[in-house]
Amino acid sequence: MRPILEVRNIAKLFKISHQSAGYLSLRERLLGVFRGEGLDREDFWALKNISFDVAPGESLGVIGRNGAGKSTLLKILSRITPPTKGRIVARGRIASLLEVGTGFHPELTGRENIYFNGSLLGMMRREIEGKFDEIVDFSGVEKFLDTPLKHYSSGMQLRLAFAVAAFLEPEILIIDEVLAVGDVEFQKKCMNKMESVAKGGSSLLFVSHQLGLVSKLCKNTILLGNGTVLAQGESSSIIDKYMDSVGVNNEFSAVGKANAQPYFFKRVRTLSIDGASAATYSHAEEICIEANFGRNETIKNVHLLAAVNNKNGQRIFSSDICLDDYTLSEDENTFKVTIPRSTLTPGTYSLLLALHIPNTVGYDMKDQICQFSIYDGGSEFTHFENRWFYGDVFVRCRWELVDGNNHQ
């Protein structure tokens, strides 16, 4: 099958002129001509040699740090700005949502804005009329349809804007982190809509910092860095690479003024078995978590809990101990807990630590701290790599053939 979007050797050069405003003043240009000098400009390649394909119906995620060139790539793909070099072939209608509600005007009513925005996004009037009721229904603003937009709350404006975009039916949909806003319920609604768009056969190009969302929506992902494609492939493996490149921080220490809580954390870090601070482990290594806490009171039945989160922030398992059995000092108590070897599968993880009385009261909780990653140092699972998602934990299960009659 021919790709619906072919991107070949795209590069983009920006001339950075050293002045505050983005535009030029004619005077400076003329003065430059008379002095026989060019403007003081610097070349900046925002993108260099980007190539990739998108197959019909494929969802492709684009991730990378700020300044990696994600926005520039999106602008080029949505034809807002031309590439300096290279070529793009698109075999279908592209709709881009780089912003929700582009062209919304505060003086126009909700109804008028639906028509104008829909038309901007490339819908014909007939199409908008046909979907009008659905759009209004999805947005939930039917009572205010004939009210000028300036009287809408920002949440209502957002819902209306997304509703118009949701009913586009392009072959290629380009989305830039527009979901980062809005209340949780509406976000869920948008997610479902986007998933159904992707399932409906449209190709999706999704740029986001929310890695969990990327891994959920997109099968494949490309990682951009410094204007080039650093890696490209299955989303989960690319996200791991990205996490590595971001630089994992496996140490946590509480900063600021003294904590008034009865129990409070001071330092947490991950150690390898030889006691050195470490952020990467082979899957066959033991992982030690060292937690240091202080206390202001002595309370019965306080537990210290450590839990491991996967890269999407989902809890994998927890482990805790009751502190009643130990004699504690006032300000420095260091506990060490060891995760057995071959427990976690290759990937990136973070910790949650808590001091609490179970189901009663929490004194201190640190979530998403101490990132560390695990690589496959050659396990019995290696043959799955790139083809199968391991899951987060290795489990040694017992297999047996039950129907023994056919087998002596």
């Binding site: 535009y23 700005t81 793009i88 279908g92 062209g103």
Partner: protein, 276 residues
């Protein structure tokens, strides 16, 4: 528009021809931009569309008083109010169309930066808004003709639509040129009102061109693309002979400006999103 055969290519070096096919596929957006601008222009105004009529009417009264009465400027055997109003009808279309189209790209920068569509739609739509104002004012022009008992020669009534078309062409060229220059150099924002003021006095709108005694000067003034439009618009009203060479000069100048304007616009439009 759900067409599986759409294929487009973005190439780093491409041609600058007008893409008629694409403009046609976006034809509804011309309507929507015009419609939006008209709505916004007259929203929250107490008099609404009446402003489109009031402006030329008030200007006519002022000009009639100063130029017609006080200075006694000749008016091609027409009552001076008819003479000046017929000129102002088109001139206002030109000047308001030029002002709004010249600022249109900068004013719609937030849209250009976020979404793709043929950018030519923006200046063209601002000119269409001016055309709407013209139609409103024209509704006053007809009773005015009746009031002054002005005979209209229906043999040459074709000159009216031709004059309107010429006005649109005359506006489009400088409008496109200035709107793209304005994106790059904001200086033009201040040049535009001044330019229009100068052009107003250089174009025979409130005085007839033969007020100038030297044929050479007449040719210089005929370079104004609005001269032909105004002259043709008055054709069904006067018995004055049309000066064909002067009118042709103005038409050619208008078409040339239009070609330059659109060419420059096309050449620079790709980079508006980076500059605006």
């Amino acid at each position: 528009m759900m067409n599986d055969n759409i294929e487009f290519v973005v190439d780093a070096d491409r041609r600058r021809m007008l893409n008629w096919k694409e403009l046609w596929s976006y034809r509804e957006l011309f309507y929507f931009f015009t419609w939006r601008d008209i709505k916004i222009k007259y929203k929250q105004t107490a008099l609404g569309f009446a402003w489109a009529v009031l402006q030329p009417l008030l200007m006519m009264i002022i000009f009639t008083f100063f130029f017609g009465r006080a200075l006694n400027i000749p008016s091609q055997d027409l009552p001076y109010p008819i003479f000046v109003f017929s000129g102002l009808l088109l001139w206002n279309t030109f000047s308001s169309g030029l002002t709004s189209s010249a600022n249109s790209m900068v004013n719609n920068a937030h849209i250009i930066k976020k979404i793709y569509f043929p950018k030519l739609i923006i200046p063209v739509s601002s000119i269409l808004v001016a055309l709407f104002d013209f139609l409103m004012a024209f509704l006053l022009f007809v009773p005015l003709l009746v009031f002054y008992g002005q005979p209209v020669s229906f043999m040459v009534i074709w000159a009216w639509p031709v004059a309107i078309l010429l006005t649109l062409f005359a506006t489009l060229g400088p409008g496109c040129l200035l709107s793209s220059l304005n994106v790059k150099y904001r200086d033009f924002r201040y040049v535009i009102p001044f330019l229009i003021q100068v052009l107003f006095f250089l174009t025979p709108v409130i005085y007839p061109i033969n007020l100038l005694k030297y044929p050479f000067l007449q040719y210089v003034l005929a370079c104004s693309p609005m001269y032909a439009a105004v002259e043709l618009f008055r054709l069904p009203l006067t018995n004055t002979e049309l000066n064909h060479s002067l009118v042709l000069m103005s038409v050619v100048s208008g078409l040339l400006l239009m070609a330059i304007g659109i060419y420059y616009f096309r050449r620079t439009e790709d980079f508006f999103a980076d500059l605006a």
